[in-house]
Amino acid sequence: MRTKTIFDPVLSSEELRGSSRTVAEIEWLLLLLVLLFQTVMVPDQETSAALAMSMFFFAAFVLSFRYANFYRQESHWKIAIETGVMIVFITWVLFYTGGAESPLADLYLLVVIVSALTLGKVATLLEMALITGCYIWLGYPQRAAVDPFSLQSGTVLVAQVAPMLLVAYITTMLSADIRRAYGHMKLLSETDELTGVLNMRAFTAVSDRVFHQAARYARPFSVLMIDSDSLKTVNDLLGHEAGNRLLKMMVQSIQGQLRQTDVLARYGGDEFVVLLPETPCNGAVGVAERIRDSVESAPLTTREKKIGATVSIGVACYPDHGADLETVLERADQAMYASKSAGKNRTTAFSA
């Protein structure tokens, strides 16, 4: 839970994989730049040794950290730790190359941009605070001579940090725009375009999570399979437009009977699946009956006539009817077919 408050939750681990590779590239780039500085500027021996040591430690960190996490899932923490170490490395290098006045001070921008684009705004704010802290520490020797708390040294600090703040601010803003579009597209990829309920791709992901929670905490859950009895007829008699309307009305009727935590998805052409977490069998049968009733009481009206719409429902529950999700889904499907062959417009709970 805490992770969500610090990091932007939109990008999942799968989506961070691309960024993670780029972060590695940026780390090597950082190393290269410091190396270049050392070669071109030729600092005195002590500085040279300090820089070499810092580069050695940083390279060792990058290698071992990436090696250790090779097969691990990407997470925000990983990138957060890497950017933190980058800040420490840059601060060390700055300390030996002229403090806050060092020509390498702009390297902080790398960290700022990486965190604004991959970690979200709160994490970026924290990193900015860390960088400001580093600046205060680096500038201390000069300011100690004057007065560390004077207005003048404060102004100098603000002038030094201002570009970082600016870049952090606008990068975060633009990346928020990008993420909003991304979130919207993600939502589209997870919903059925006709009815707006989840598609199977999304249902698989959600139901896996529900199943694992149920299995871990030994809680029940139920599955309803809902199949329209009349879609085929409506499609054939009145055309597909009427059929689509029927589906939408069905979804409305179903949704009216569900709680916030229940999951509704389109399973196929005229079939819907409902997952009821923490609901035992008798509760699920009650819900199914209410859904059946609600669909029946909302007939499809066309210009000429009213057409009654009904559904057949099958119910199966975990752990009573199956030890894994596939079995429960399959049993609910079987129960639904039992409803069909018993004359449609009814609810059947699975019985072995």
């Binding site: 990008l11 989506e15 691309g18 960024s19 590779r21 780029t22 590239e25 940026i26 780039l29 730049l33 020509p103 702009d106 390297l107 921008l109 790398l110 941009i113 990486v114 684009l117 991959t118 002038a159 201002a162 570009p163 600016l166 870049v167 601010y169 606008i170 990068t171 803003m173 633009l174 990346s175 725009d177 990008i178 909003r180 579009a181 991304y182 919207h184 597209m185 993600k186 589209l188 990829s189 997870e190 375009e193 006709l194 598609n199 199977m200 791709r201 085929k232 499609n235 054939d236 055309g239 597909h240 437009e241 059929g243 689509n244 196929g268 052409g269 005229d270 079939e271 499907d333 069909k340």
Partner: protein, 377 residues
């Protein structure tokens, strides 16, 4: 010869060859709208860029108020400010009237670069504390306009640097001054580079999600969300260039029964079989989409209703000739197809779709497993 689909599995959906035209159509439509940014995203960007431009104005004003400068420089800075503010207002107004455009964003960032250069010229050139303001247009363009435009921006900034750092004496043309210039430019390059890189990553994942949102998960063909814009575009093209196009609606005759008797797995197998057959018969320029559970829509640009009926007949035959195998069950399957063409059977998209649907229905009514062309208009 009867092909056993179990021994010769259907080819995996190949996005480049089979749906070649479809993707191309979507891509070119997108390019017209602005590379790979969504309209909603472009609107957000446009608003954020405006905010960044005002931020730039405020920063320059702040600097001016606190630092002060010689009188003629003051006049010059205010002159620059007024021109820049006028530019922002004009472009925002334009974006407001005509909707946000990518080139408006690009021009906005160019204006930012020119304004920053102007202010720098009057506040100490390369030693000016405002030098870092160049980072604003760079980050903006790297995140919103892509790598080529960003490269051009960096080129322009490099030119501005050279201009600002120019000294009339011979010392300008030395290695040292070139080195200093490069060192001053390095942070800009660095920021441009890594911002572009990270934004490429984000765009890449976005492209993947977009593809998911536009394809049917079972068969890999387009869903209606992707199909509708393609149809709209093809229809507009046909109308403008007085071309013909045809539409097929393919519906399985026994999916329901197979689902009921052999289970959903067999039903899925049947749908994949139908898609495979349709794909096999369509040209690379045709577009298929899954319409509902067992219906598929095909759009055949520049095909008359006679051509389309031939294609439909080949699809029908191909499906009827090959039985489907799922698990240990083998069953035959057939499809009914309706065909309608623009402009013969409808001059609007809605009318064409309705007539295709009706033709399909008469195929069903006349005994299924057949092709019917819509009649009249």
């Amino acid at each position: 010869m009867i092909v056993n689909p179990a021994s010769t599995p259907l080819p995996a959906p190949d996005t480049n060859t089979v749906r070649g035209y479809g993707l191309e159509a979507v891509h070119s439509a997108r390019q017209a709208a602005g590379a790979d940014i969504e309209p909603g995203q472009l609107r957000d960007f446009s608003r954020t860029v405006a905010e960044i431009q005002w931020l730039l104005v405020i920063l320059v004003l702040l600097h001016h108020v606190f630092q002060g400068s010689a009188e003629d420089h003051t006049v010059a800075v205010y002159f620059g400010l007024i021109i820049f503010v006028a530019t922002i207002l004009v472009f925002q107004y334009f974006a407001f009237l005509r909707g946000p455009r990518r080139w408006l964003l690009a021009v906005g960032t160019w204006a930012m670069i020119l304004f920053v250069s102007w202010v720098l010229y009057h506040t100490g050139r390369l030693d000016s504390p405002l030098l870092n303001l160049y980072l604003l247009p760079i980050v903006t363009s790297a995140l919103t306009l892509g790598q080529t435009v960003t490269l051009l921006q960096v080129g322009l900034i490099a030119a501005c640097y050279t201009f600002l750092g120019y000294a009339t004496d011979a010392s300008f043309f030395t290695v040292v001054s070139a080195g200093n210039l490069a060192a001053a430019l390095a942070p800009m390059l660095l920021v441009a580079y890594i911002t572009t890189m990270l934004s490429q990553d984000i765009h890449h994942t976005m492209g993947k999600v977009r593809e998911l949102s536009e394809t049917d998960e079972l068969t890999g063909v387009y869903n209606l969300r992707a199909f509708n814009p393609i149809v709209a575009r093809e229809f507009a093209l046909a109308q403008r260039h007085r071309r013909i196009l045809s539409m097929l609606m393919v519906d399985s005759d026994n999916l329901k029964k197979i689902n009921d008797t052999h289970g959903h797995e067999a039903g899925d197998r049947l749908i994949q079989h139908v898609v495979g057959a349709i794909r096999h018969e369509l040209r690379s320029t045709d577009v298929i989409a899954r319409y509902g559970g067992d219906e598929f829509l095909c759009l055949l640009p520049e095909a008359s209703s006679a051509d389309a009926a031939q294609v439909a007949e080949r699809i029908r035959k191909r499906i009827a000739d090959a039985p489907v195998t799922a698990g240990n069950a083998t069953f035959a399957t057939t499809v009914s197809i309706g065909v309608a063409a623009y402009p013969d059977h409808g001059t609007s998209r809605e009318a064409l779709a309705r007539n295709t649907d009706q033709a399909l229905y008469s195929s069903k009514a006349r005994g299924r497993n057949r092709v019917t062309v819509a009649h009249g208009s």
